[in-house]
């Protein structure tokens, strides 16, 4: 049995895992239905409707969809540019679907990358993301400071020839904490983010500020602390000349002394992980 010293019971973790699976199922379902001419707004609506039909009422953030060079955030200057646009999908174009549904109080935040038809650059990016998933887990288990891990991830990206595109996210975060959210009848969103989750994040930020940690995993000084127990939605995002690829999933951090138990990915049965396993088998 996993230790529960992060404050979550195994039933809780099961709940988080289920909603994460729900998110990836939604991403795969929508990705399979994307065809040339579909716009980002339509893709975002498809995700929203799919999840609503399955009982999702609240969001950490509303679904995003990025197509073409917007997957690498080319020319992004202000946060409003993250919102879905009328950009149409074309054959060979990469796309990223990013959604954060809350279901029965459990939050997930997932990212799914794909492309419409063959795209060798995108394939390479996806394969190279594997090293980042391994690096992050290894260094979190080593209890390195989050800022240092951030810099090591960035260094790996640069040595691979890529640009770090999660730097474009608000506060340049590679990850942020997620938590349980109580079910409320009214759950409005503010600039695409669910107010209930934002309140949780703000509460964490306040506590963290007193205790010297932050719920945002950034390249800045406020992230210069060892990994804080809890659930972290980790989203390394590679960019290469107009093509971007990311994954996002939840990393569980505990205060266990056993390295294996001190940090682990919430679930290993995910599309990107299966893809790498298939690649390894075919080699």
């Amino acid at each position: 049995m996993r230790s529960v010293t992060n404050g979550y019971s195994s039933a809780d973790l099961r709940g988080f895992r289920e909603v994460q699976q729900l998110g990836f199922a939604c991403a795969e379902s929508v990705a399979a239905r994307l065809k040339p001419g579909v716009t980002e707004r339509e893709a975002a609506r498809m995700q929203r409707e799919w999840l609503r039909e399955r009982g999702v009422r609240d969001w950490f953030h509303l679904p995003f969809a990025w197509f073409g060079d917007r997957t690498a955030f080319t020319g992004f200057k202000i946060p409003l540019q993250f919102f879905p646009t009328g950009r149409k999908l074309e054959p060979g174009m990469p796309f990223v679907l990013d959604m954060a549904p809350i279901h029965r109080g459990f939050t997930s935040d997932i990212g799914y990358s794909g492309c419409l038809g063959p795209n060798p650059v995108h394939d390479r990016l996806m394969s190279d993301l594997r090293g980042h998933r391994e690096l992050i887990l290894r260094e979190v288990r080593e209890r390195r400071s989050l800022r240092e891990i951030y810099e090591n991830v960035e260094r790996l990206m640069i040595s691979q020839g890529y640009a770090n595109r999660h730097r474009a996210y608000p506060f340049g975060v590679i990850a942020h904490k997620v938590d349980r959210v109580s079910d409320r009848r009214w759950s409005p969103t503010l600039f695409g983010f669910g107010t209930n989750s934002l309140r949780g994040l703000a509460k964490d930020a306040l506590h963290g500020h007193r205790d010297g940690w932050s719920p945002l995993w950034s390249p800045y000084r406020f992230s210069d602390h060892p990994p804080q127990p809890g659930l972290w939605a980790v989203e390394p995002h590679l960019g290469f000349r107009g093509t971007g690829a990311k994954f996002e999933e939840i990393l569980v951090v505990t205060d266990s002394r056993d390295p294996e138990e001190s940090a682990f990915w919430l679930d290993d049965d995910l599309p990107h992980v299966r893809r790498w396993q298939e690649e390894a088998r075919s080699v």
Binding site: V121, R124, I158, S159, G161, A163, R167, F240, R241
Partner: protein, 620 residues
């Protein structure tokens, strides 16, 4: 006039031929790249009362490339290109009626209309490739004719592709002029006046008798020298001895066609074949703007630009042969017409060129290699770290380089660089664009900088550039077909700083070296650019030496300074874009980031401000 007479008695006007062995040219015999078409099989094709002299090279079983010359030229203008194509293609050249050894129509007036020239082309194509369509290539008037061939209905099925250089379709030109005279906006009027001034010789050629007298008299005698001086056509036996009569007869090309087509351009002049347009940017006879609306007439158009003057078949045979060969091969393949692989900026200029980048394992070098790869260039990625060089070459192929190689060399190592130069020349070819980018960073006060630090800095930053320019620049100069050298200097080449004495010294030397070399190589069509990036988010700070510090302190300074570079966050991709742009525009000194540009401006107008800045101790 010594001219070779056709075996059967042919009607010949305007020449008193005497039998004379050889190939009809009085130029250099036997020189490798001269004008003689060695090993060419000759035949005569009669059409519409004239006898055309046709030369063939290469295996007739292969696809046929038909080269048509311009004015005042003969088929020998193609000798260098033909030799480079003959291994892969069945190369056919012919003297246009009235030129070279082909006979002239009688009377001359009315004998040079495009309709009759189309008859000639069809007769030659029928004779040399009766079953398969030919790949047509035209230069100057050959290209004007080629446009006619490629746009009239009766040649359909006889042409597989058309490569045009320096010769617009007269019909397209007629429409171009009509559109601009009808709506003379300032821009349109400017374009009209510009081309109008470049066309002075067209008006001159419409004068009766005088052009003929000039060509047969002093102009014909001095023309080779004029070409050498103004057009940089190497004096290697071209033009041939038939020049005065070629030029005199050829005047009728203008008189028979220009006025008729300008007055009533055809309205159905759509190309029914894929067209490759090669535009020499330094052409003094034709404005680049002539081709602005060409997509409308030629739906399957590939654009190429070449920094050269008008006579490209003489001055840039390597590049032409590569583009002609590639385009013909692509048009022949059964794969349905696909977008060209390279779609990046400046693909018209760099497609297929060989680009060598030093320090290509990271930062600006890597981004530059990728940008050239996106433009379709073949890339040699040189770095002292084998793994990162290999990674760059690998990714370069992914983004569009037809070929890419990784080479592990320390640019400071003279012998290794010499070996690299030999290997590159032998295996990949002559470098078209050289980017001397490898460099190391070093910071610290002058008295903390040891002689060893100085040596290493100068070895890499300065000697690396010297070796690159010396070895690859020499290959470029010897080839004599132009090229470009980019040296990465720095904003600290003109911004002094008490923190960077060794680094700034080395970069200032690179800047001045580039300027001197630019002056020296200008005459050979080789451009030299010094790029001064400024603070760019690369690994330079993470790998820099901080003189006079212990290991712990050095580590701290590296981390701190690379964080500052990260906060500045100027992407190396933008420097790469600036480098490609600089090569296309042949710029001398290119400061890139705003701070580099500001410092450059201040170094000219308020140097004392920069001296004050030089005293600041940066907060590290």
């Amino acid at each position: 006039m010594k001219r070779n007479r056709k075996p059967s008695a042919g009607d010949r006007s305007g020449s008193s031929g005497t039998d004379h062995g050889g190939n009809g040219s009085d130029g250099a015999h036997g020189t490798g790249d001269g004008t003689v078409l060695e090993g060419a099989r000759e035949r005569w094709v009669s059409t519409g009362g004239v006898e055309l002299c046709v030369a063939e090279l290469g295996d007739p079983e292969r696809p046929t490339v038909l080269l048509v010359h311009g004015y005042p030229d003969s088929k020998e203008v193609w000798s260098k290109v033909a030799r480079r194509l003959q291994d892969r293609f069945h190369v056919v050249l012919y003297d246009v009626r009235g030129c070279g050894r082909s006979t002239a129509p009688k009377p001359l007036r009315g004998g040079f209309t495009l309709e009759k020239l189309t008859d000639d082309f069809l007769a030659v194509a029928e004779a040399v490739s009766p079953d398969e369509p030919v790949h047509l290539v035209g230069h100057d008037w050959g290209s004007v004719q080629g446009w006619e061939f490629a746009t009239v209905r009766r040649t359909e099925g006889r042409i597989a592709s058309f490569t045009s250089m320096s010769g617009p379709s007269l019909d397209h030109l007629g429409h171009w002029i009509k559109r601009r005279t009808r709506r003379p906006t300032p821009r349109a009027a400017g374009q009209l006046l510009g081309q109008g001034a470049k066309s002075w010789y067209v008006y001159a050629l419409h004068t009766p008798v005088l052009p003929e007298l000039a060509w047969k008299g002093p102009l014909g005698k001095r023309w080779p020298r004029v070409l050498e001086l103004t057009e940089r056509v190497p004096g290697d036996g071209y033009p041939t001895g038939s020049l005065p009569t070629d030029a005199a007869h050829g005047a009728w090309l203008y008189r028979d066609n220009i006025r008729a087509r300008m007055r009533r351009p055809r309205t159905d002049c759509y190309a029914h074949v894929p067209v490759q347009l090669i535009t020499p940017t330094g052409d003094i006879f034709l404005s680049e703007r002539l081709y602005d609306d060409l997509e409308m007439w030629a739906p399957r158009l590939t654009r190429r630009t070449l920094p050269a003057k008008h006579w490209v078949p003489r001055t840039r045979p390597d590049q032409l042969a590569a583009w002609i060969g590639e385009f013909a091969a692509k048009s022949d393949s059964d794969v349905p017409a696909r977008e060209p692989m390279a779609r990046g900026a400046h693909a018209d200029r760099f497609a297929g060129q060989l680009v060598l980048v030093t320090g290509a394992g990271s930062g600006i070098g890597r981004a530059t290699a990728f940008s050239f790869a996106e433009a379709g260039a073949r890339v040699v990625a040189v770095d002292r770290d084998a793994e990162s060089a290999a990674r760059t070459a690998d990714m370069a192929r992914l983004v569009g380089a037809p070929e890419a190689w990784a080479e592990t060399v320390d640019v400071a190592d003279e012998q290794a660089m010499e070996k690299l130069a030999e290997k590159v020349a032998a295996e990949y070819g002559t470098v078209d664009v050289l980017v001397n980018n490898a460099g190391v960073g070093i910071s610290g006060s002058f008295f903390d900088t040891s002689t060893e630090d100085w040596r290493r800095t100068l070895d890499v930053n300065l000697w690396g550039v010297i070796h690159g320019c010396r070895l690859f620049g020499k290959q470029m100069a010897e080839r004599g077909q132009g090229g470009h050298i980019v040296n990465t200097a720095s904003a600290s080449a003109y911004q002094p700083s008490k923190m960077l004495p060794a680094y700034s010294t080395s970069k200032a030397a690179v800047l001045m070296l580039s300027e001197c070399l630019r002056a020296e190589l200008a005459g050979q069509g080789i451009g030299v650019t010094a790029v001064c990036p400024g603070f760019v988010n690369t690994d330079i700070a993470r790998n820099a030496t901080f003189a006079g510090t212990d290991e712990h302190e050095q580590k701290r300074l590296r981390r701190k300074s690379s964080r500052l570079y990260g906060i500045r966050n100027y992407p190396p991709e933008k420097v790469a874009e600036a480098i490609l742009r600089a090569v296309v525009r042949n710029q001398a000194v290119v400061p890139v980031t705003p701070e580099a540009r500001g410092a450059r401006l201040m170094s000219r107008f308020t140097p004392h401000t920069l001296r004050a800045v030089a005293r600041i101790q940066p907060p590290l």
